[in-house]
Amino acid sequence: MVYETTIGLEVHVQLKTRTKMFCGCATGYGEAPNTLVCPVCLGYPGAMPVMNREAIGLTVVSGLMLGCDIAHWSKFDRKSYFYPDMPKNYQISQYDKPLCLGGGVKIDLEDGTEKTIGLTRIHLEEDVGKNTHFGASSGVDFNRAGHPLMEIVTEPDLSSPEEAYAFLQALKQILLYAGVSDCNLEEGNMRCDVNVSMRPVGQQELGTKAELKNLNTFKGVFHALQYEQERQAALLDRGERVVQETRRWDPDRGETSSMRTKEDAHDYRYFPEPDLLPVVLEDAQIDAWRKALPEAPRERRARFVQTYGLPAYDAGVLVAEREVADFFEEAVRAGGNTKAVSNWIMTDVLRVLSEKGVGILALPLTAASLGALTKLVEDGAVNMTGAKEIFAVLANKGGDPARLLDELGLAQVSDTGALEKMVDEAISANPKSVADYRNGKAAAAQYLMGQVMRLSRGKANPPMVLEMLKQKLDQ
């Protein structure tokens, strides 16, 4: 039988605030256990939460970037369940009045079309601590407890592991553009729960779903979904039922296994958090956030194609990171050649970044200097060979391309007299190649060309050399 897959995601995103959601403790990763804690985030008797307005702002900004409706009146609720990583044994979350409703994320499908994945809601809650097991005993690190956590819930609009993967990539890109989270998967900034079900093509009602937990990488989501598709399809093929349950993804074994069935599902006993006031947002405040929004990556890509005449693929590479796209535009504004700047970034700059393992802002190379370098090439002041040398210095130490051109003695030789001397020298030193050329081996000209470049120590103007060589050999 042929089945179609229905997938919905719940993505937890740690917000980039200086302090925790409900207390003044610093947010941080990798600190010694239980050093970023206080009576509030440890759930001590009598401690009370105080709302972090910065977290509210970042959530609303995320909602605006994702096209959500922002609630003018929203509230927090207590979600009760016992777990050692949960200081109060209830989590302050949002139940029926989340900060953001609706919205969507556009993704590109393989056939080149575009699909919008609808969002149900975005709400704000507090993160929990982290359990560690030491064999005979266990420990809890509460440094993470109380970190602001935004939960983004999608509609069941995704229909394949590929779409889920593309959605997560697009979402991450938007959130990075918005500057609301570092989205660092290794540090657990983004974590994902997945609901997946299958039904025979044509069937109206959805199949029974499984919920997958413990998905900390996008690849993990992809592989877990692939596994689940096969598992559920096999069950259905055999005429068996899919059990509604929560399953754990084991990335090492590459399979999911049952954690708990619907029968032992939690009753979270939500009720309004009496220690916090409702969140009331005025239009003026929301408008101010809206006005300060950055351009979204997808819109920026379209604009790059339109404004700069770049191929869609190139534009996509350039806008993938906001800082890189900013760098590109700044280099162009500084007088750089659009196509050349794009090529430099897509090849050399991104290569250097990945070699050094840093972001573009950490590079000594500035947008203005890259722009200036492309201008030197365009004006014929330096050939590509020389430009690469200059780039290497710029990438490692920075500097002014025009001055480096002088310092490194890389100025392109375009003086006819000097070039003629070198061409003659190459011809007289390589009679065999000259003969080959004249016998119809066009490639011999390339060899001779190389000899001239060597004689000029790379500085000869290549088109002029080629022209001159051909003239002399064809005589």
Binding site: M48, P49, M51, P84, Y90, P274
Partner: protein, 485 residues
């Protein structure tokens, strides 16, 4: 210096302050005398769960030094008893529960920090019903506090230790908390003054929560003036408690006057019901007459939704409590009972051993009313009725400055009398829970005692932020009563 015969047993904050200011005694003398008084009488009363004599004397010395350097203030060097659910850094805070055995508070509650700043001395921790759940202090895991007026009777609760300490002359002033009457009812039973402030007037930060939308910390004192002094030092906005009100704190003592001219006081008919104790009725009606004689106009009012208050209260309070008490799990602090390696087993064993029967009963009730499928019928409905109860009060306060009512339907009952019947015990909150549900302020002031000599509490209810009105009524009544006695 040093008056070793200093009698602290009826000493008020005001009188003690005068003694300290005049140099008639030092804060160390005062604290020392109080500690000796506690030592003499508390073995019969059991008002204090624990004492911190060394720390108190050290604080008293610091107060004396501060005074020598020119510091002054009504609470400088005044010893205060603290209900055992308010966090004082470095002191135990058991909430009269086994589950917090061995726990030492790592921080000061906001009210404690404010009183500490004012120079108050924290002499000891007063007994209470476990986690403030009870109306007799019989639910303490450690001891049953006796009513000093009649040792066979309960002091009320949950702030029974704070009330009994005052009545036994082993405190100058104490702090209580009031969720459904836990300040006013024991104050009424023991014959002292107890004030529950408007919700949000006093910070709850550092108050071990029972029911977060109802809890308030308030003063328990010998006189209304003392209540004004103590409230003054505690009230006001606190950035650590989002539910505190950003409204300036008036000068409460300045509001105290000797008459009630120009005031209109309401008598809610629902608080004078058939079957209420005759002696209580007689006492309150006599108090009403006294207020009339002081110049107040007395009018009848109706609070029609009063009859639902106990049901609404026990739904909302237990629901909130079920979440608030979830944190006592043996993981981070307090008692831990861990039979194996399974955390779920540890929770069960810890909570089974750590909580008393009444606490368990309320956690189960609260868990039930919040359960999926029951939420709308119980919790949501209760919140709607709660709004109606508030509306009743708003209507009454549209024409009245304050309301007069009994604080309790009966005088103090006997130890053990109601322990077998939780519902009967719950009904002793019938006249007090409404103020918590409505978030308004209310105070119990000693009215005329019964022929048996048992205290009766006159409850004075005021609108939100109407503390000045109820203090004025309470003070004028108290002064007139003293004059005629």
């Amino acid at each position: 210096m040093g008056d070793t015969n200093l009698d602290v047993s009826r000493l008020t904050i005001r009188e003690a302050g005068d003694l300290l200011a005049s140099g008639a005694c030092s804060a160390v003398d005062l604290t020392d005398a109080l500690l000796r008084r506690i030592q003499d009488v508390d073995s019969n009363i059991h008002a204090y769960v624990s004492l911190d004599a060394d720390f108190a004397l050290q604080q008293a010395r610091a107060a004396d030094e501060a005074r020598a350097q020119g510091k002054s203030g009504p609470l400088l060097g005044i010893p205060i008893g603290v209900k055992d659910l308010l966090n004082v850094a470095g002191q135990p805070c058991t909430c009269s529960s086994h589950i917090l055995e061995g726990y030492t508070a790592p921080y000061d509650a906001t009210v404690i920090a404010r009183l500490r700043e004012a120079g108050a001395v924290f002499v000891g921790r007063t007994n209470m019903d476990e986690f403030a759940m009870g109306s007799s202090t019989e639910n303490s895991a450690y001891m049953v506090t006796r009513n000093p007026v009649d040792l066979e009777r309960v002091p009320g609760g949950s702030s029974g230790g704070s009330a009994a300490a005052l009545a036994a002359g082993e405190a100058i002033a104490t702090l209580g908390t009031d969720t459904g009457g836990s300040i006013r009812q024991p104050a009424a039973f023991c014959g002292c003054v107890g004030l529950k402030p408007t919700y949000g007037r006093v910070s709850r930060y550092g108050l071990t929560a029972f029911a977060s939308s109802l809890d308030q910390i308030g003063p328990m004192t010998h006189t209304v003036e003392d209540a004004a002094i103590l409230l003054q030092a505690m009230a006001g906005l606190d950035t650590m408690d989002s539910t505190t009100l950003d409204v300036p704190v008036p000068d409460y003592r300045a509001a105290l006057q000797h008459d009630l001219k120009g005031m209109r006081l309401g008598l809610p008919k629902e608080y004078f019901v058939d079957g209420m104790d005759d002696a209580v009725r007689a006492s309150i009606l006599q108090a009403v007459d006294t207020c009339r004689a002081l110049g107040a106009e007395i009018v009848d009012v109706s609070l029609p939704h009063t009859e639902y208050s106990i049901a609404v209260y026990y739904i909302i309070a237990t629901a909130e409590a079920s979440a608030n008490l979830a944190r006592f799990d043996g993981v981070r602090y307090g008692r831990r009972v861990s039979p194996g390696n399974d955390p779920v087993e540890m929770y069960g064993a810890t909570r089974e051993a750590g909580f008393g029967a009444e606490v368990k009963r309320r956690i189960i009730l609260g868990t039930y009313v919040l359960s999926s499928g029951y939420y709308d019928a119980y919790y949501l409905r209760a919140q709607k009725v709660r709004r109606l109860i508030l509306q009743d009060f708003e209507n009454a306060f549209a024409t009245c400055d304050a309301l007069l009512a009994p604080a309790t339907p009966t005088p103090a009952f006997r130890v053990g009398e109601n322990t077998g019947d939780p519902l009967k015990m719950y009904l002793s909150d019938v006249f007090t829970a409404t103020a918590n549900l409505a978030g308004i302020c209310a105070m119990s002031v000693p009215s005329f005692s019964t022929s048996e000599g048992l205290p009766v509490g006159l409850q004075i209810l005021g609108p939100a932020l109407g503390e000045t009105q109820i203090l004025r009524v309470g003070h004028a009544f108290e002064q007139r009563k003293k004059a005629v006695a």
